[in-house]
């Protein structure tokens, strides 16, 4: 153990030095305009998810699909004149910021929720989607207002926004907490709780497969938005993106996107305005 302890500071120092150096290096920005560089390369590199249907996923034929991807293709078309001039880079939730910081992608369109912490690291454009909490309950005992939950058991996932929201704002509602999605939904099916709170998009997809349940409360609490992100300080691309998004907002592009990519997934029971934001409006 002694030897190990000797090397821990060494390892930490190494990581810190590398971190410090990278921070310095990123200060010196390139002189060439970022949009010119994309045009020179001939393709816009956009980071998307490859396993998060219906937002960004790969279908059985190996094609990238989804709500984020649909927007990405349109961005490529307006920037470079052709829908196919986009290079999809598959990112993970944990490395989205790194991809931008190291210039490995131009734009991240991977269901990136806007938070204050992330704003310090990347620049967000106008939001194009929103997520909020929903509450699902059986149709024959439907809960349409939070006040109805008093004295009843509500199922949530441990540590999620739903858990935090109810613990903070409604301490008198009894919460049943589970680690896994599957456990939580099974608990609702078994009747161990009266209702279940989760991200509304997740619930919309779930009730489609489960007759007898409905999302009584479709949007609740502090609404989070989802926006495209670019590298911190890349104002040129950010401004272009914002103008582009405003233009798309005027032509109701996101609603069209919803009909093409999300409607087949969520069915007719939901109102697009619970999810979609037309940017700039």
């Amino acid at each position: 153990m002694k030897k190990f302890n000797k090397f821990v500071p060494l390892a930490i120092a190494l990581v810190l030095i590398i971190g410090a150096l990278t921070a310095c290096a990123s200060q010196s920005s390139n002189t060439k305009s970022s949009i010119d560089r994309i045009k020179e390369y001939g393709k816009v590199r956009i980071g998307v998810f490859s396993d998060k249907p219906p937002f960004g996923y790969v279908d059985s034929n190996g094609e990238v699909q989804g709500y984020d991807v649909y927007l990405a293709r349109r961005i490529a078309k307006d920037l470079l004149g052709d829908e196919s001039k986009v290079e999809f880079v598959f990112v993970e939730a944990a490395n989205r910021v790194e991809y931008l910081q190291s210039d490995k992608v131009d734009i991240i369109l991977a269901n990136f929720t806007v938070t204050d912490d992330r704003k310090k690291l990347v620049d967000f454009a106008h939001p194009y989607m929103k997520v909020s909490l929903g509450v699902v309950s059986p149709k024959d005992n439907v809960i349409t207002d939070v006040s109805q939950l008093k004295g009843k058991k509500l199922i949530v996932n441990k540590g999620t926004t739903a858990d935090i929201f109810f613990t903070k704002n409604y301490p008198d509602i009894e919460l049943l907490k589970y680690d896994q999605n599957t456990e939580a939904f099974q608990a609702l099916l078994d009747g161990r709780g009266h209702a279940l709170a989760h991200d509304n998009t997740m619930l919309f997809a779930w009730v489609r497969e489960h007759e007898g349940y409905t999302v009584g409360i479709t949007s609740l609490g502090g609404q989070d938005t989802i926006a495209p992100a670019v590298k911190k300080g890349n104002t040129e691309l950010l401004n272009w993106l914002n103008e582009e998004l405003e233009k798309l907002g005027e032509e109701n592009f996101m609603h069209k996107n919803f009909e093409e990519t999300l409607r087949p997934f969520y069915g007719d029971s939901i109102n697009p305005d619970d999810i979609v934001i037309e940017p700039g409006t």
């Binding site: 090397f7 990581v15 396993d51 790969v58 059985s60 993970e92 991809y99």
Partner: protein, 225 residues
């Protein structure tokens, strides 16, 4: 409604994609293993050197590789190096570099252990009959230590094959990631997809790793004679 989850394996291009992912896994692992063995043996011998400074440098390298997780190394080379130097390396190249660095260190330590475990008189006898240092290593030390460290090396190789699943974090889509893509795109239609897909991937890893074990068992038997 309830359909057989096994169907997702043959739906569309899925099987082809999974095999493509497997090829990526095997390619990264195989190249790294070969490089690790080529560099690991001399590295291990250098580690037994009497020169203190040389030993310290080797020790620092080995411990740095062991203490810093492979995932962090991948991040440093894939995201850190471009930020510093502007040089962009492809994800699979970075994977091979990192796995080779890791493999060389581990293989080197195995070699060091095997060499020092040989009785001292082996080396001394060699000297007594007038062999040079190179000849002692070529004819006495290396052949004996290679046999001793065979099981540990195979352990390292299979560990490297399995650890390649980390490379997805630097954008390399290998077999496990393809599996997740397949599962997630079927998550509503067939909830049992994960069972079949992961089962199939388990089988794929098995048919790569098992022949290696078999081969080694044969080798050991033959050497015993």
């Amino acid at each position: 409604m309830q359909d057989l989850g096994i169907r997702v394996l043959i739906e569309g291009n899925n099987l082809y994609r999974l095999m493509g992912g497997l090829l990526v896994t095997v390619k990264i692992a195989l190249i790294s293993v070969i490089i690790s063995i080529i560099f690991g043996i001399p590295f291990g011998i250098v580690m037994t050197s009497k020169n203190k400074l040389l030993r310290l440098v080797c020790r620092a390298y080995l411990e740095a590789v062991r203490i810093i997780p492979v995932m962090v190394w991948l991040f440093i080379f894939y995201f850190g190096v471009p930020k510093l130097t502007g040089i962009h390396l492809a994800g699979d190249v970075v994977s091979v570099i990192v796995f080779s660095i890791w493999g060389t260190a581990e293989k080197g330590d195995l070699v060091r252990g095997a060499v020092t475990s040989l009785p001292k008189h082996q080396k001394e006898s060699g000297k007594a009959i007038g062999l040079t240092n190179v000849q002692i290593y070529r004819y006495i030390i290396i052949p004996q230590s290679v046999r001793r460290l065979l099981p540990a090396t195979i352990n390292l190789v299979t560990r490297m094959i399995k650890t390649t699943s980390l490379v997805v974090l630097i954008g390399v889509v290998e077999v496990l990631k393809v599996g997740q893509q397949v599962i997630e795109s079927f998550v509503l239609q067939s909830p049992s997809a994960s069972f079949w897909v992961y089962g199939f991937i388990f089988f794929l890893y098995f048919i790569i790793c098992y022949p290696i074990s078999l081969f080694v068992r044969k080798l050991e038997l033959r050497w015993k004679e």
